[in-house]
Symmetry: D3
Subunit: 332 residues, 6 copies
């Protein structure tokens, strides 16, 4: 049972994510916990009254717990009173990814799709390189978000973003006969690989903050270093490495957006354009989610403070259709 399914004063027992938890004192001097919890669909304020235990006994933020309590209304807002709670134990069969924003596809599925693309490469060196890097970093990227606060800041966001670019890249190569498909796809697959080193992750799998190397070096240069190291170890030629490394360090397009150099050949130009396009589509869809048809979003800092318009002609989503998923369309 979910929070949204119960009536006022209804009782709930279930797993929730602790999003915040602070010890406070009432006017009468008793201590309590002021919390925010989520059942994966609904966020609600929660109170645990008369909390006298030590601070270390508080439910840890960003962890899943089992709660039992009652939902009521206070000052016009829903509030959940926690009667009992406990941390998870090994018998609880719940997944963190059901309680935090996540991509609509499983990490394993998306990873397999990328590996299939690699398998289709005609260029042996690029195939070797992409396989080597993907295999080496698989565990680190399977559930990784693509960003801290911007586009694809959800579990699995990195692979979702990567796969979207690959789909666009295939359409582009079908149109422009000069573009080298394998090179563009290889760059697309590897372009954000070093985001695996760029973040400190919270227990939820979302990004908690930028890591020190993520800040001092950044995923563009670190990505090129990874390509250099694994490429050399696997016998890929210097010329090939140079091209892929260029794509990685230039994929932000402009120096002021973090590109170490500007894109200087066709596939690098394309990768940068498709990366921006996919990120922008995600951002625009995301800010429009809570906007009524006919209304404007708040200003979007990452898109030059534009306010976007929801013309209401299509349902707004932040999903893509890779052809092999249960379509969102059907459900709606």
């Amino acid at each position: 049972m979910k929070l949204k399914e119960i009536d006022n004063n209804g009782t709930l027992q279930g797993y929730v994510l602790v999003k915040s938890c602070e010890k406070k004192t009432t006017k009468t001097g008793s201590t309590y916990l002021d919390m925010s919890i989520s059942d994966g669909e609904t966020d609600v304020v929660a109170k645990l009254w008369d909390f006298r235990a030590a601070d270390t006994e508080k439910p840890p933020v960003n962890s899943l717990i089992l709660v039992r309590g009652t939902l009521s209304t206070y000052n016009g807002q829903p509030q959940f009173k926690i009667d009992r709670w406990r941390p998870l134990n090994e018998n609880d069969n719940v997944r963190m990814s059901d309680y935090v924003p996540s991509a609509a596809f499983e990490g394993e599925d998306m990873f397999r799709a990328l590996m299939q693309l690699v398998a289709s490469f005609r260029d042996a060196e690029l195939k070797t390189l992409a396989s080597a890097v993907l295999n080496e970093y698989k565990a680190r990227i399977l559930e990784l978000p693509a960003a801290f606060r911007l586009h694809h800041a959800v579990r699995g966001g990195l692979l979702l973003h990567t796969l979207s670019i690959c789909k666009l890249a295939e359409a582009v190569c079908a149109l422009y006969v000069s573009a080298d498909r394998d090179l563009l796809l290889c760059g697309a697959i590897l372009h954000d690989i070093a985001k695996s080193e760029e973040f400190n992750l919270a227990p939820t799998g979302l990004v908690d903050s930028y890591s020190v190397p993520g800040t001092l070096i950044g995923h563009l240069v670190r990505g090129a270093m990874i390509v250099e190291e694994l490429g050399r170890a696997n016998g890929v030629s210097e010329d090939t490495l140079m091209l892929v490394e260029h794509m990685l360090i230039s994929h932000h397009g402009l120096p002021e957006y973090g590109a170490a150099v500007r894109p200087l050949f066709l596939e690098a130009v394309l990768l940068s354009a498709l990366d921006t396009l996919d990120a922008n589509v995600y951002e625009v869809e995301n800010v429009l989610k809570g906007v009524e048809p006919g209304g404007f979003s708040a200003k979007v800092w990452a898109l030059e403070d534009r306010k976007f318009y929801n013309h209401g002609r299509r349902p707004v989503g932040t999903d893509v259709d890779f052809g092999w998923r249960v379509a969102r369309e059907k459900e709606n």
Copy 2:
């Protein structure tokens, strides 16, 4: 027979385009014509000695003429001596488009492809609007270049560019389920329609200069006016016109690139991105055409003075593959 097929001192009779023509005086005082001519494949300096006729009798620049003469070498450079020439008459069966840079597809074919796309619209208003504008402007855009000096500055360049964007737009809409295909395609088809008023054309069909209204108003705002006028005349609703007009006046993306407003909904963002992408691909391919593999192009002003690298992995073309043409690949 073409210039490149004849030997030194060989004789040629054939049609050529007059690219420049100036009357000069030799040291001995006789007057002659110093010309540049092209047979559609090769440009060559030409001389017409002892020219004593009035200036009005000179071969008009940018016209096709029939010449007879001899090719020789002067100072290490080829030079064509014109013995006889005459302007075209009605019996000459030649087409200007064979003598100036032109898109690889016929205007009629590309226009038909656009009309087929329009026919596929489910949105009746957008179908009405796009049909009305295309039919009204057909004659003016069939062979129109897309630019003065930049991307697609060839006969038929406008339709080629428009069709390429449409192909990309279809791929994008297949991926992002939030995007409204008909709206995006309609914007793509109409986005440059007012380029038909922006240029003064040379007799070659290429752009000679910007027109006065093209400079004072510009094709973005004029395009919106055309949509407004033809849309109202055909009963399209204000809301629909507003969306399409917004796409037209925002499609350059940034104010400093000429956008009257920034793109403010998903399809406007997409149109602007795809317009830029197609233009950039054309430019990059174009500047790389004369560059050896392993070499860099000259600085490209329109692309922030970058020099582009020809990595030599694919033959460089400025063509696209719409699926229904005799593939360039085959020939190579």
Copy 3:
């Protein structure tokens, strides 16, 4: 009687504008209305205790009501206790414009002044065009503010701003003999005409927010469309329309300030300069109103975050002197 005329604990009955109104709960659990009201000169916090009616019975924000109550002091601040109130009925003889910031001149007077300028045109086409547009839009602009939050954001601000520019334009044309007076005045009169479509107005007549077409198209391009439509309908030539349209879409001067094109002839350059000058004078005067001589204003975002200095040599006003008004000077 006005709020500023009554003593502490004095009683007042009179019309006030409801600027905000929120239902709240006291610590003892009773509900009350926490309001901000204005009598056109003074803003004051007001309380309506023991409000038990439905929300729909609250005094509507931005409406005029008749109140009776007492002025007292709470925490050092004046506070008005409302004993009774009622909405206006048809017998109340009050004007909204007396309760919101308004230009010092009547809309009808300013409109008439503009029409007199038009009547003085020697150019028949420009006279026709300006008359047609003014007459068509008279009702919509008579009391319109010129902006949301910036310069001339008062009732009647649009006409005040327009008339000021016209006065400057006449002085400029008297000095520079190359400038075409009729063309410049026509551009000045019409330059902001489409602000009539750019705002959603509050019941006060002030701007509540930008409208959808105001955001997606903007008053520059919409203005040009209005000129195109009414100009054509009245037989104005294309050349004349092109010049006026250019002035409208370029009058913000720089693309980053919203100009679709930069001003490209003398009168367009002048219009843009005078528009900026009048707006800046208004802004500077406005921010200096509350500043002591010798002091600086807060940072003004619209003027590059400058803080302006009140040197105290002249009384600060935001008024202009058109020669036909009761001079502010006299009163002071």
Copy 4:
């Protein structure tokens, strides 16, 4: 008699300005002078054949000389053969200002007009200050150009520019009652006073180059220093000097245009706006002088590379009408 009045092969004796003069050698080994001369209306190439004197005997560039010779045509261009020449002596009654581009008004007349404005000041300190500076610098500014290559780069251009701004300032103060007329006029009169130290002048009275202090300090800061020095010497208060100095060092408006600080009170804002406006009007008129109606000028670097349009509705001039001159209008 003037050059344009004589026929081909006609003879002329008259005063001309030497604009350039270079000694060259013919193929046959004889030396001659290749010159450019002007009679104040027409520029023409001139040759002085068989020149065997020392270099120091050449006619000095930028000086007036008396010549006698014949006008003929060479290669389709007019050419003047100098038979005899001599430098001026005390009996020659000619004025340099008739041979170089000059303002349409006499320096003395314009200076007197400025002094009359100063005489009208009600503020005694500003009157003292403006008088002191004008009198001190009279000789240095009477014929001074306002610039090297940009606006008002003619003899007397500085006073012409200054007077134009004053005229605009009076109109502005008549409109905006907050503006302090004396302060604005004082700033306008003194704003470019230190241009008297900024240039190295050619013998023609035009600017040859920037001076060292003009480059290292600039006329904004030097102007403030002049005000400080002469103001203190004449007992003007620190507060008044501070205001005028601020207007001088801020009158270029933006730091990137040379303003040491941004304008921070109303009159400083106005001075900067009117200075820009008058300079821009001059520039636009100037570039349009040689442009046919319906045509565009070349790109104007100082005005962001815009090309300006001559709509042909008014004769183009670079003159202003101060009301007391023989109107240009009458002549045309």
Copy 5:
């Protein structure tokens, strides 16, 4: 005894700086003072209960007072209850500089060090100029901060900053033989001299706000005026003054950072570079003071919003080592 030395509920009598002081009312209606005080090392919240005196009897903000009271803990935060207090009288032997952030060196010591540098000049004019200015402004700069909120915003900060630049300048001149040591040092010593007119100081000796002339003229131009006036009075040549004045008005390097002109000779380039370097070092050290090794600072607005990293390899200080002070190193 200092605050940090006393236990909870311990009593303290001592001098403190009043950093803020506001009269408030308890729920029970009694009035009290809510203050922030500092003993020069520790800041703490202080309460003076039952304060019934007039507002003018409150301890003045930014003054030193003698207090007696008790330190306790409230809501986990230390709080000082003031039992008694009095303002300073002549018998109190305390110095403001011990209670506000101050440079590690005495003003007199730093001033003497500058005078010794001047004494070492070989160039007599520069020696005269620097001596004259330093002596004239000694009293005003001895304890002056160098800024409002940015680098060296501490008592004595101006001289500390000046001396640091001089030390760097000597090293630079030892390396680059083209650089003129006396000129560079003279510019360094005088570059911020007019900061003595730029601030309104609080009683603490720190900057309270910018002064009117500091805002309207600024310390760059005012500095040049001081050099001009004292230089002329002491017979320094115009050429020398011009060079020094140029260094002063250009030392911010870029117009957008306030430079009236850009640095145009070697010593001006060097002064600007060293000024920036010393300011940046101070800023970076300052923001890192409260950052744990391995952590990042907050965004630093004055340094393009960068977050700086404390790598922890050296203790962070904002001090410099001039060789003649008790080294901080020793103490640690």
Copy 6:
């Protein structure tokens, strides 16, 4: 004997550098070589008449040759007529570095000075890292210029530039006790190490063009890769490598100047500032070399188009004084 030592029509036999060489044809039809040669001090035009050999027999550009010929004057310019010439053979004892612009110090001396600095490091890891890289790259950097056309574009320029920064770094660390000397010096020594891969060198040892990897990857990122590879191979910790790599990829300071990230700790900030300072000093000195005292240089593109002033107070040099060289001062 050198060119500047011989009289007109004097004969010279000696080694010269061929700077350009083009085959041309006289009016009479004979072929000759039009060359520019240098004896290391003087550049002169040279002619080799009646050259009938094959193109491959021409003296190779950028090579040293032995010539014999006569110096004469043509059209006021010196011209050298070559009678005989031959390429070098093994017996010729000449060094290219005497014929092209070179640093005043030997590469070996400068390299040794750097190694001594490294030997002084207390930090074992940094000592290991710097030694390893210097030893690995010694041969490639010993005579390397630091740039193509900008600062230190001379043989040995890279080491000269590196050593200058180290000298400044030592002075800076002596002043600021927070700065880590070993870290700053290590960054300084390695910051341009990958310039060894960035250029294609001419036979003169000067830069002919940028290499492909120099353009696609750049010396900042390549430098970090070198540090990563050699650092890991020598057991340097990840944390230390991260700091040094950050210094390398950030040392251009601003993204628009090529920095992949902005400097984010003190030593990175210092390295970037000192790098810029040394480059700017070199540039300013270099452009002032040919400028008379009291004059201005041409515009310097790399320094924002400034024209620099030669105040003439010191002899202009582009040399530094490391203390251990024969002082230039002495000679002058």
